[in-house]
């Protein structure tokens, strides 16, 4: 059973993207021929067919690319992680073997996944550390970039200058340059007295204090990572309708209230987008220790390609879980959120109902 699975079924995975691409192409060619025939008969081509053809015309290069490179890459990497593959002299696809006492080949699925735990004793610890530092960094980056965006959005002198400076990290914050800077010790703010922080942290258990002290020692790096996030927030802030602010001002709302009641709720989707973006960039950036581990394992003699693929997939699952958590925390809770009876009424009116309270208010309004 195992052998059959390994030799016949799993390798088929490799062909899935190409089959998909082939099917789409065949369907498109059929549609094209149909359209041409209709045209030669001087009959109008249906809008649906036309839109499909033109839509696929525009996305076609990408479609081919995503099938050849992305989808097949995903399939390959998943497939290879179940085999035993190395990158040394050329490429050899050796089916994963272990021999039992009788000399028969035994297929042990997940062998790579299990050996990650045996060979890479640091791996779970590194993963956990990464998760903790991510959870600590994320709110800092989001809050910081939101504050910067709010300040840049207001009426200030030298706005152009400040914007230029704040987008600078987008341009230069990258691997080698960052490494040079970290080596120079420029990555921490010189003015922050490290002693105060260390003395506070001394009383805490190690697994909390280490990430926090890391957070402070890498403050510049973290702040430098928030260039795109500031961009996203700024673009979001520009879309908040000014009429809303004016209405709030007339109703006598203070700036503080306006921020919490109008700005923040409208920015909610931006915050979600930013968080996801931050998690993804932090997780896949070249300064990430896990990416380094994976990269080294690929070319290591004792580990090899399949092993690295298994590591990558484990890592992907962890990142996916982190993303899911982020999403669940920040996503919009639609029904519960709206305390405003008028808005709730609009929602329920869509479903054909109108709340009693609103009906009463309306009647009173008519009477008056």
């Amino acid at each position: 059973m195992g052998n059959w699975l390994y030799e016949k079924v799993l390798p088929l995975l490799e062909y899935v993207p190409y089959v998909l691409l082939g099917c789409v192409c065949a369907a498109l060619i059929a549609a094209l021929i149909y359209a041409l025939v209709r045209r030669s008969q001087k009959k109008p081509v249906q809008r649906f067919i036309r839109d499909t053809l033109w839509g696929y015309f525009f996305i076609f290069p990408w479609l081919v690319g995503i099938c050849i490179f992305f989808l097949s890459g995903v399939a390959d990497s998943l497939l290879y992680s179940f085999y035993n593959l190395k990158l040394d002299n050329g490429l050899q696809l050796i089916p994963l073997t272990g021999e039992d006492a009788m000399g028969n080949t035994v297929y042990t699925p997940l062998a790579n996944y299990i050996s990650v735990f045996n060979k890479e004793l640091n791996y779970p610890v590194t993963l956990a550390n990464f998760a903790v530092s991510l959870i600590l960094q994320l709110p800092v980056i989001i809050a910081f970039s939101l504050i910067i965006a709010l300040m840049l959005n207001g009426k200030i002198r030298g706005r152009g200058f400040f914007r230029t400076v704040f987008f600078l990290p987008v341009i230069i914050a990258t691997g080698p340059v960052m490494n040079q800077l970290t080596a120079q010790g420029v990555s921490s703010v010189p003015m922050v007295s490290q002693n105060v922080i260390t003395s506070v942290l001394a009383g805490m258990p190690e697994f909390i204090s280490t990430p926090i002290s890391d957070l402070f020692s890498q403050l510049i790096l973290i702040l430098w990572n928030s260039g795109i996030q500031i961009l996203i927030f700024l673009a979001g802030l520009q879309k908040v309708p000014t009429a809303m602010y004016e209405a709030a001002k007339i109703d006598g709302a203070s700036g503080w209230e306006t921020f919490w009641k109008i700005t923040l709720p409208t920015l909610r989707s931006m915050i979600l987008l930013n968080s996801i973006y931050t998690v993804v960039t932090l997780a896949t950036g070249s300064t990430n220790p896990i990416i380094d581990l994976i990269y080294n394992a690929t070319y290591a003699v004792t580990k090899g390609y399949s092993y690295a693929a298994a590591m990558t997939w484990m890592y992907t699952v962890i990142v996916a879980i982190l993303l899911l958590i982020t999403f669940l925390i920040i996503r919009e809770k639609k029904e519960k959120k709206s305390k405003d009876i008028w808005r709730r009424d609009v929602e329920s009116a869509k479903r054909g109902m109108q709340s009693k309270k609103v009906r009463k208010l309306l009647e009173r309004g008519k009477a008056a």
């Binding site: 479609l63 690319g65 890459g73 987008f167 080698p176 879309k239």
Partner: protein, 329 residues
């Protein structure tokens, strides 16, 4: 009479006090001085934090050896020297690498902008079967770590003998919409083209323009802001990426001679310095030994083209960010 005088005085005082308070703390319409002060102090501080590494790099790169050792010359070099830059230029083989790097960054960027704009338009404008599925794949491509696909891609390249140190693999991936962070570019364009009024495009079509002409003549000119943003971003991404570039160029395996980038040269800066100046042989006494100033000069040189480009495009960039709606809602 004097009582009313007193009252008036009191009143005036109260009004003045009120005015002062208003000016300091602000009112509903205007921000007060205090608030402005806080905002400016914060902005300047953070701007300094942002500029600090660059300034540090720049001032260090101009220092002489004795200044580096002198603790009193932390910021301003006592004597400005250009020698570090000369050495760094030699080490990086600068003009040669710069030219190669420009080719390696510019050509794929142009392809990327062109293709991503088309793909974004296709997704934004038309309804077609499986559209939801392809959008989901697009998002998935953004979320999955590049490492998942980079290894099999590398194998595909080497099987097809593409990873030969030329610009070919970069162009092929970019033309097929799989360049560095293409997904983000597609999403930016998608979002932007969605805001283009449909009626404009449809009017052009009624006037007899084909679908592609409508895109080229109407939609593209309307999204110059997005084009500026995406061009700058892709150029920066192509310029700064190292791991993928090494794979595409076939480093570690078939690599012999060919294109290189300044970032890759920067990674092996110390080794190339030692070979260039033969510093290791006489390491103890040598005055040639590598120092921070030379390293910083090398780093400055590596990012100099980006800085120049940024300051040239800066105005358009900052303005278009406002309009580009980088955000996907």
């Amino acid at each position: 009479m004097s009582i009313t005088d007193m009252e008036l005085k009191e009143k005036a005082k109260a009004i003045r006090k009120e005015k002062f308070k208003k000016r300091m703390l602000g009112s509903a319409d205007k921000r007060g001085l205090m608030m402005s002060l806080v905002v400016y102090v914060l902005l300047v501080t953070i701007a300094f934090i942002y500029l600090y590494p660059v300034l540090y790099m720049f001032s260090r790169s101009l220092m002489t050896r004795s200044d580096l050792l002198d603790a009193s010359a932390k910021w301003l070099p006592s004597q400005i020297t250009g020698k570090n830059y000369q050495d760094a230029i030699l080490t990086l083989d600068y003009w040669n690498s710069l030219w190669k790097n420009l080719v390696l960054a510019l050509v794929p960027t142009v392809c990327q902008v062109f293709i991503c704009s088309m793909v974004g338009y296709g997704f934004a404008r038309y309804k077609f079967p499986l559209k939801g599925f392809w959008m989901a794949v697009l998002i998935l491509a953004f979320l999955l770590p590049t490492q998942v696909t980079s290894l099999p891609n590398y194998l595909t390249f080497s099987r097809l003998k593409l990873a030969d140190g030329t610009v070919k693999p970069f162009v092929i991936t970019a033309v097929l919409g799989q360049g560095f962070k293409s997904v983000l570019c597609v999403l930016i364009f998608y979002n932007f083209h969605r805001q283009t009024p449909q009626s404009l495009v449809e009017a052009a079509e009624i006037d007899g323009a084909g679908h592609f002409k409508a895109y080229w003549r109407i939609a593209v000119p309307l999204c110059t802001a997005a084009i500026v943003v995406v061009t700058l971003f892709s150029f920066v991404w192509y310029w700064n990426e190292t791991t993928l570039v090494r794979e595409y160029l076939g480093y570690g395996h078939t690599r012999a001679k060919g294109l290189t980038t300044l970032m890759i040269e920067l990674q092996k800066f110390e080794d190339s310095y030692n070979t260039t100046f033969d510093a290791r042989a006489s390491s103890v006494t040598s005055t040639n030994k590598i120092n921070d100033a030379i390293r910083m000069a090398g780093t400055m040189l590596a990012i100099a083209p980006l800085l120049i480009l940024y300051f040239v495009l800066q105005k358009q960039f900052v303005e278009s960010v406002d309009r580009a709606g980088i955000t996907g809602e």
